[in-house]
């Protein structure tokens, strides 16, 4: 009995019991559904074992949308709790768990998955490759992310959620002040999915550097691919810091070391430093791919080439470098004196310069263009003013003396949502709508999509602009409630209304998928948006091998040149295509990682040992496996191309 007690929730509530029932019923429904429709084989063959970058990308995106739902529910609960003074919907402990998981789920399991999914789907197509450099590794990346995400998400029904904030500052996150296993979950869920992300970083750098179509020099890559390259370079430099910090945190919590303790020579602020040495570049890992998406979308729907290609690339390189030089601005209030704060204040503000260049370049891309107001373009147009507001409030926060007043307040909360939502979320929705026909061969409904955009934008403004004001009025972040005398009530109610509008937007976006799946015409052709870059030179949806013949490229908008300037993309003759084989090892290995993480969280060492042996067995299997891939025959290619009506 004692063994099972540790799995109990330390702080249960009806909401959590309801979620347990909900999760149980959903799992049963999925299992019954798969069995009834005899889809287990299909699921295993086509999805769980796939190494196809397009399917892995889709799985990332689907997971990201699920996590958006989870994180969104957390967000709504927080806004509901703080909508009126002295509310009792959640108690302090639950509120603490909710904002902690909201942060982690949204950053690590939603935004990261969304951008990596988008990169997975689009980058190989944009560079004219058949797949990423290491398809099997790519599958491992996804399944490690998925294992991490699931591990994190079971925390609130088994053993308790982390409750020390997504920044997880020690000593609050140490065992003295956070006794439940929640923070162990934090450590291992991030560790496992972080390993996957690091592998993605290496994989995409190699893919982009080595697998571009003939003629595509670095300065002829589409802008989204450029952003992906820079992003992955940042990943490779930043994520090892997180890996080590998490490991040190795990040692502190589970093996009694004192890296981050305030006694015995430990340094509590070391965690904050390591966390933000990773955490600030992480912000740019999120935003740069978003910039890439906007560059593609704005150029396409302005029917113009991207203005200032070279300065766009240059500014991204500069941002990636500077992103490592600003981490101290997350704790100006630590007391390291005006000199250190002054230096980091200046470096932080300096990042605004390359970012500003990009904003002006997008504006100049619209100049003399022919702007079509499609859903992706609406998101991009909405992004510019909203992100500018988020950006300039970032500059305000960068002024160290003023930050002493903004720090830890709702002003800060307003700022980072103001950059992440119009920056990353808008970009992902724009990109999803834009590349949807590439993924599925039909378009999303424009009318419903526009309603979704307006609900999201207006909801966003209502939800987050009031926080700037309450922040300046002294409302600290992460307070589960406040008294009526503070006067925070009315504006927090406005925030809640905004959050509710955003929830409606989410429902509209999901409904749009259902509606379009049922009613949208399937004959969208190859180029429904009159697009410019190489991914549109193949069919919709994309055949398994991407391009029947490897394209040859002469500019960053090769497809546009082939349409307008008689550039010939496909010169070679068709021949058989070499493809990688599917493999069940990645998903099995990730299963072992899940067991490893789960056992470690609860210090069940026998489980840890068995799972570790399983992981090594998977690696050994791969080492001795003799798999040279397979060929798609010419006949099969001809048939596929004919089915698509391809004259190319």
């Amino acid at each position: 009995m004692e063994f099972f007690e540790r799995f109990a929730i330390p702080h249960p509530s009806p909401l959590i019991y309801a979620s347990m029932v909900g999760i149980g019923l959903t799992v049963i429904a999925i299992v019954i559904g798969l069995t009834y429709f005899k889809k287990w084989g299909y699921l295993w063959r086509e999805w769980l074992t796939t190494v196809d970058h397009k399917r892995i990308g889709l799985m990332y995106i689907i997971s990201a949308i699920l996590m958006l739902f989870r994180g969104g529910v957390d967000g709504i609960m927080m806004r509901l709790q703080t909508a009126v003074p002295d509310n009792t919907f959640l108690d302090a402990q639950h509120y603490n768990e909710v904002f902690t998981t909201h942060g982690i789920v949204m950053i690590i399991f939603m935004a990261m998955a969304f951008i990596i999914g988008m990169m997975n789907f689009v980058v190989p197509l944009q560079i004219g490759a058949r797949d990423v450099a290491f398809p099997r590794l790519n599958a491992i990346s996804f399944w490690l992310y998925f294992a991490g995400a699931m591990l994190f998400n079971i925390s609130f029904v088994i053993g308790g959620s982390p409750d020390a904030g997504w920044t997880n500052y020690f000593p609050l996150a140490g065992t003295d002040f956070s006794q439940s296993v929640g923070v162990n979950y934090y450590m291992w869920a991030l560790q496992i999915s972080g390993l996957g992300t690091l592998m993605t970083g290496i994989n995409f750098i190699v893919t982009i550097l080595k697998m571009r179509a003939p003629g595509m020099t670095l300065m002829k890559m589409p802008m989204f691919t450029w952003s992906a390259l820079i992003t992955n370079v940042i990943i490779v430099f930043a994520f090892p810091v997180l890996t080590i910090a998490l490991l040190m945190g795990t040692f502190d919590r589970q093996f009694g070391t004192h890296f981050f303790a305030s006694t015995n020579g430990g340094m509590d602020m070391l965690w904050a430093n390591l966390f933000w040495v990773w955490g600030h570049p992480e912000v740019y890992i999120l935003i740069l791919p978003a910039f890439g998406v906007y560059s593609e979308v704005i150029a396409t729907f302005s029917s113009r080439n991207l203005y200032g290609y070279k300065s766009m690339v240059g500014s991204m390189v500069l941002i990636s470098f500077m992103s490592f030089l600003v981490w101290v601005h997350h704790f100006f209030t630590m007391g390291h004196g005006p000199l250190v704060n002054g230096i980091f204040s200046v470096t932080t503000m300096a990042i605004a310069v390359p970012t500003g260049i990009k904003i002006f370049n997008w504006l100049l891309t619209m100049w003399k263009g022919k702007i079509r107001f499609t859903v992706p373009m609406l998101y991009s147009i909405g992004f510019i003013p909203l992100f500018t507001i988020g950006g300039v409030t970032g500059v305000m926060l960068a002024i160290a003396s003023a930050d002493y007043q903004y720090h830890n307040t709702m002003f800060l909360v307003a700022h980072f949502h103001n950059v992440i939502i119009p920056g990353v979320v808008f970009a992902m929705l724009a990109g999803l709508t834009y590349w949807w026909p590439k993924m599925f061969g039909f378009m999303l409904n424009e009318r419903i999509g526009k309603w979704g955009f307006w609900f999201l934008s207006i909801g966003f403004c209502l939800a987050f602009f009031p926080m700037y004001i309450t922040g300046l009025d002294g409302q600290a972040r992460r307070m589960f409630t406040y008294s009526a005398e503070t006067g925070f009530g009315p504006l927090n109610m406005v925030s809640f209304i905004g959050a509710a509008l955003m929830a409606i937007a989410f429902i509209l976006i999901v409904y749009n998928v259902y509606y379009s799946f049922r009613y949208a015409p399937r004959n969208v052709g190859q180029d429904p948006w009159d697009a410019r870059s190489l991914e549109w030179a193949t069919h919709n949806p994309v055949p398994e091998y991407n391009f029947a013949v490897t394209p040859e490229v002469n500019s960053s908008q090769a497809f546009w040149d082939s349409k307008k300037n008689n550039h010939q993309l496909f010169k070679e003759k068709r021949s058989k295509i070499h493809m990688p084989n599917n493999s069940g090892v990645p998903v099995i290995m990730a299963g072992f990682f899940f067991v490893f993480g789960f056992s470690f969280v609860f210090s069940i060492w026998i489980g840890v040992i068995i799972a570790a042996l399983g992981i090594f067995a998977c690696m050994a299997y791969r080492t001795f496996e003799n798999d040279h891939g397979r060929y798609i025959s010419l006949k099969e290619i001809e048939e596929t191309e004919k089915k698509y009506g391809g004259a190319k």
């Binding site: 302090a92 305030s262 340094m267 300065s311 630590m334 510019i384 160290a400 403004c461 009025d473």
Partner: protein
């Protein structure tokens, strides 16, 4: 687009009204430090507003003028590479703004970190403010008294708060008097401030520190020097002395009302500074201190 712009304008309008009628705490300073930051905030708001207005105006012009529905069917947008002159301008203007704000930032940061101008020659009143879950303990070594969850200080005299924590990192904040600073377990940080107007000012821990965080607040009261001295005398004639056992009880997690004692806990539980610090932070103590580190901070 117009709807959105309208919305933004409405929001700005609302915020200006709010700032006008009932001043926001941070923008309603009662001492020179908070006044410096409030001024810096206003400077940055105006500078940034210019940028936002320029970007939004440009965007509206582009979107309005070059929308497809306004152009002829066969209009083919030109191919335009970057233009060195334009790109120089879009780099130069942000650089100038950033240089301006950098100067403002560095200068004001030095200002708010030091003793306020005009008070440099006065003898500061030292108050130790230490946090424990979820209370603030204020020790006055000079006056030999200690309070919990409220602090009283004389006006027009520089106050030096020395901050540290029994437990998680907290952030000491009296918005109307000065910005925040962290209180940590293994070192002492300092805030210099002066209150120029008598009154009660809300103060709190701004850094998340666990379950009782929301109510981890205190009241900072500024009294005229005469009233302050009277208050001190009153405490000495009415309050009980603070014993070690009692202090250990106070440290237990929970909330307490406002309490007053004579004597300070510093006598039996010194602050983590000097030889009691957890680490060296550029202080001139000799290295023999190292041996004391591990023992100096054990919380009984």
């Amino acid at each position: 687009m117009k709807v959105k712009l309208g919305l933004i304008l409405i929001m700005m309008f609302i915020s200006s009204i709010l700032a006008g009628c009932e001043p926001l705490l941070v923008l309603n300073p009662k001492g020179p430090q908070a006044e410096t930051t409030a001024n810096v905030i206003w400077i940055s708001i105006f500078t940034m507003a210019v940028i936002v207005i320029v970007v939004i105006t440009l965007l509206i012009i582009m979107v309005y003028k070059y929308r497809a529905s306004k152009q002829s069917e066969d209009y083919e947008p030109p191919h335009i590479e970057g233009n060195p002159l334009v790109e120089t301008i879009i780099v130069a203007i942000p650089v100038i703004i950033v240089i301006f704000l950098s100067i403002v930032s560095v200068k004001s940061t030095y200002e708010v970190e030091s003793v306020p101008e005009g008070y440099e020659n006065e003898d500061p009143l030292v108050i130790y403010a230490s946090s424990s879950n979820w209370k603030w303990h204020f020790s006055y070594p000079e006056q030999d008294i200690e309070t919990v969850n409220y602090v009283i200080m004389p006006t027009n005299r520089p106050i030096e708060f020395r901050l540290y924590s029994y437990g998680p990192i907290t952030s000491f904040w009296i918005p109307q008097l000065a910005g925040q600073k962290y209180a940590m377990a293994d070192m002492v940080t300092k805030i210099n401030l002066v209150a120029e107007t008598p009154g009660d000012y809300p103060g709190r821990n701004a850094n998340f520190s666990g379950e009782g965080f929301a109510k981890n607040s205190f009241v900072a009261t500024a009294l005229t020097p005469e009233e302050f001295d009277k208050w001190i005398d009153e405490i000495h004639s009415t309050a009980e002395p603070l014993t070690e056992e009692e202090f250990d009880q106070l440290l237990e997690p929970g909330h307490l009302g406002q309490l007053t004692f004579t004597g300070t806990h510093l006598e039996f539980a010194p602050a983590p500074e000097g030889e009691h610090a957890g680490h060296h932070h550029g202080t001139s103590e000799d290295d023999n201190d190292n041996e004391n580190h591990s023992n100096s901070l054990i919380i009984k």
